[in-house]
Structures are given as C-alpha cells and as structure tokens.
C-alpha cells in the first residue's frame, strides 16, 4: 500500500484510495525508482530529472482542477515540492508517478478549498485517468504562440531526422515514432542493445544541435 508522508497538514492521506500494488513495474516506473533511490541517497539533482519528465502531466492535472494557466503552474510547483519533501518516505510500493499523481490531485483540491472554490473537474482516481486525459488538458493550455513554436520545432526535427544516416534514422524512428524498446529495436536491426543505445544517442545529439540553433 502506498504511503504518502506529508508534513503539510493540508494534504490528505489517500492511502485508502490507492489502487492495488502493481505486480510488475514498467520500464518507466523502474527508471523512476532508480532516480528516487539516487535522490534518497543524497543526489538531489536527480529529482530534477523527474520534474522534467513529469512536469507536463502534473501541470495538466493541476489545470484540470483550477482551469487557470498561472494557478495551475503554482499548483504543479507546489506538488513537486511536496513530493520532494516526502520522497524520503517513498518506498517504491507503487510507481512514482502514481504517487506523484495523488499528491498533485490533493494539492489542487487543497488549493481550491483554501480559496473556497469548487473543482472544475471531477477526476476519477484510477490509473487510466492518470495517463490519458493530460493530453487534452495540455492542448487547452497551448497558446497560438506555443503551438507555432511547436510546429516549427517539429519541422526542424523532422528535417534533421530525414538527413540522418540510415542506421541512426532507423534507430531513432523506431524509438520515438514506434515506441519500441531498445530490446525490440536490437532484434529488428539485428544488432546488440549497446549499439542501439549508442545510435539513438548519436541521433539525439545531432537533433539537439539543431534544436539549440533553433532556440537561439
């Protein structure tokens, strides 16, 4: 059973609402758990990687409650800070994201309660909800400017991918467009996993250079 150890009195304990323990953690959850352990060992910056990974989802959850761009950023920020403070007590009994999701929902509810406002959204606290509806919320958060930037960036990346060598293009495409694991890619390309990892990284580095130029 998941435990949320919060020093903030406003945060509810939601242990009773939690889903059953997941038997097998996904690759993503395993990766998160590795990062959590690093944070617990004192490598505080490793938490930043979790923030980067989940900031969009957490923002989307917050937005679904408060329906305001600025306020949802405040709630999302607060949720991450609470998670960080409680991370020491996290034992990996469930996926990190499940845990973070509950913290975000409670933070948003408390935020609205403190302002005597009712939630704009009634979220069902189930796993499907965690992973599906954030996309819609993020789309609502988009402005014409960010949409334009996204489209331009997408174009830059697509052109860069097209210009990659065959071996790099295959590896990155299978990973990003088809969502294949390294193991699956290695099998499809008939090469070692280490080679897949290296090719994907090299492709990312080339794309990254273009992104840096684009951002400048």
């Amino acid at each position: 059973m998941l435990q949320i150890v919060m020093s903030d009195d406003h945060c509810e304990t939601v242990a009773d609402e939690l889903p059953q323990q997941q038997g097998e953690l996904s690759d993503s959850a395993r990766a998160d758990w590795e990062l959590v352990k690093l944070v617990q060992q004192g490598h505080k910056r490793s938490f930043d990687l979790l923030v980067i990974k989940y900031q969009s989802r957490v923002l989307a959850i917050a937005y679904r409650f408060v329906k305001d761009h600025g306020e949802s950023q405040d709630v999302a920020q607060e949720a991450f800070v609470k998670a960080y403070r409680a991370l020491e007590g996290f034992r990996g009994d469930s996926a990190f994201y499940t845990w973070l999701y509950r913290i975000t929902v409670n933070t948003a509810k408390n935020y609205l309660q403190a302002r005597k406002r009712r939630p704009q959204s009634h979220l069902a606290l189930d796993d499907d909800e965690q992973f599906s509806d954030h996309i819609e919320a993020l789309q609502e958060l988009e402005t014409p400017e960010t949409r334009l930037i996204r489209d331009q960036l997408k174009r830059v990346i697509d052109e860069t991918v097209d210009g990659l060598s065959e071996e790099l293009r295959s590896a990155i495409s299978m990973r990003e467009f088809d969502g294949m694991s390294y193991e699956e890619i290695a099998e499809a390309l008939d090469c070692p996993i280490g080679t897949v990892r290296s090719r994907i990284f090299r492709a990312r580095e080339i794309i990254d250079e273009k992104i840096k130029q684009f951002m400048q």
Binding site: H43, D48, V81, K154, K212
Partner: protein
C-alpha cells in the same frame, strides 16, 4: 558555467534514461551521472532538450515552460510548499526589509541593446555603473558575488516594510534564478514576461502581477542601489 566538455558517456546515459532504460543501466553508471548532475547544469539542459525533442517527434504538447524547473528548484531551496501568498510572509528577507529601503529595478542585461518599451525610462541610476550581484544558485548551496554592468532602469522606488503599501509601487522582488543562470551561461534566454510579485504588507500578503518588458529581470536592490540581491522565491516570472 562549467566549460569542460560534457562527457558523452554521461549524455548517453541520460538518453537511455529518457527511454526508460535506466532500470537496465549499471548502478555505478547512474551514480556517476547523479554526481555529474550536481556539478554540471548543462547536463540537465541537455535532458530538457532531449525531452522536448522526444515530445515534438511524438506530436505531444509542450511542457510548462523553460523556467518551470527553475521555479521548482527555487521553491525546494526555499523549502516552501505553502501557497505563494503565505510564502511571501514567511521569507526571512521580508524581516530584513525594515532595515532596507527596497527598490525594484529592472536590469537590462545586454547593454548593447536598445530599450524598446517607451514606458521604461531610465531614472537616476548610472547606466555604466557596475552592480554587485549576490548570486545564490538554484539549490542554495553556494553563494558568490560577481560584477555585472547592466543598464539600470528604475521601475519604481521602494520604501520600508513599516510603511503602508502603495499600490503604485512594487516593494519586493528578486531575480528569477533560472534567468540569472541563463545569463551566467551566456545564453540569450532573458525574456520579459508576467511576474507575480509578493507585496510586503504582512497583513494581507497580496500578490500583484507586473508586466516585465522583454529582456528585463527583476531584482531587489539595497538602499544605495549598488547591490542586487536574489534571495528567495517570491517572484515567479512567466515567459509569455
């Protein structure tokens, strides 16, 4: 900024991490990455861009913004998870405000650029004077001073915390560390945006929004306007 070249092996580990392969990464390799992250902010930037590229390739919507991580880091460093309005009342620098007359200034970091916003007229300060910036990093572990040569534009004059809040004045703010860091890295990321500024008045701790012109950041000045203090997390700037 760390000028040493980033070891490709660490970035390759980051790349694997992005692909959820960290569970299969050697524990030593992960620890080495974790140690490097503490010292080299460029690694985090790389990870952010990898994430951005990945999202773009999948047609996903963007994340909150480049400054979000900085805000979280800043809030963690300040150890505050309470609402912004309450946070504003808990800051040590608010207690110090009685000793300081606080002025809010916008700093034009790139001296060579021209002021494009006619609302911002240089007042008082010597544009060529160097200002000492007391610079706390985003996790608050180190502090050092450095000199910058900004063009100083006074947005509003400050006053002590004991006096009543004048709604026409902004009486406390400080640098957004993510922007400060960006400038330290020599990147042109400084942008205007909407900032939420915590008012000083302890009784209400109200927030107000301040429109920051492109290229400006906020800082808290001491009385003689020679030092800019970036001390805590009560100002959040949103890049539009």
């Amino acid at each position: 900024m760390n000028d040493k070249p980033i070891q490709p092996v660490l970035k390759e580990t980051l790349s694997a991490l992005l692909d959820h392969e960290a569970g299969k990464v050697d524990a030593l390799e992960l620890r080495r990455l974790a140690r490097a992250l503490e010292q080299d902010p460029e690694l985090l930037l790389s990870y952010q861009r990898y994430t951005l590229a990945s999202a773009a390739m999948r047609g996903e919507t963007f994340s909150p913004g480049a400054d979000f991580l900085g805000r979280v880091q800043q809030a963690i460093a300040s150890d505050t998870a309470t609402p912004a309005s309450e946070r504003a009342l808990q800051k040590p620098w608010l207690k110090m405000a009685g000793q300081w007359a606080v002025a809010v200034v916008a700093i034009w970091w790139a001296q060579t650029q021209q002021v494009s916003d006619p609302r911002n007229v240089p007042v008082g300060a010597d544009a060529s004077a160097a200002i000492e910036v007391e610079d706390h990093n985003t996790l608050g572990s180190t502090t050092h001073n450095r000199s910058i040569n900004p063009r100083v534009l006074t947005v509003s004059a400050g006053h002590s915390a004991a006096s009543k809040v004048n709604p026409t004045k902004v009486n406390s703010s400080q640098l957004d560390p993510s922007q400060l860091n960006a400038s330290k890295r020599g990147q042109s990321k400084l942008q205007g945006g909407e900032c939420i500024v915590a008012e000083h008045l302890p009784a209400d701790g109200t927030l107000r929004r301040l429109q920051l012109p492109e290229g400006y950041v906020l800082c808290q000045m001491d009385q003689d306007r020679q030092r800019c203090h970036s001390v805590s997390a009560s100002v959040a700037c949103y890049v539009p």
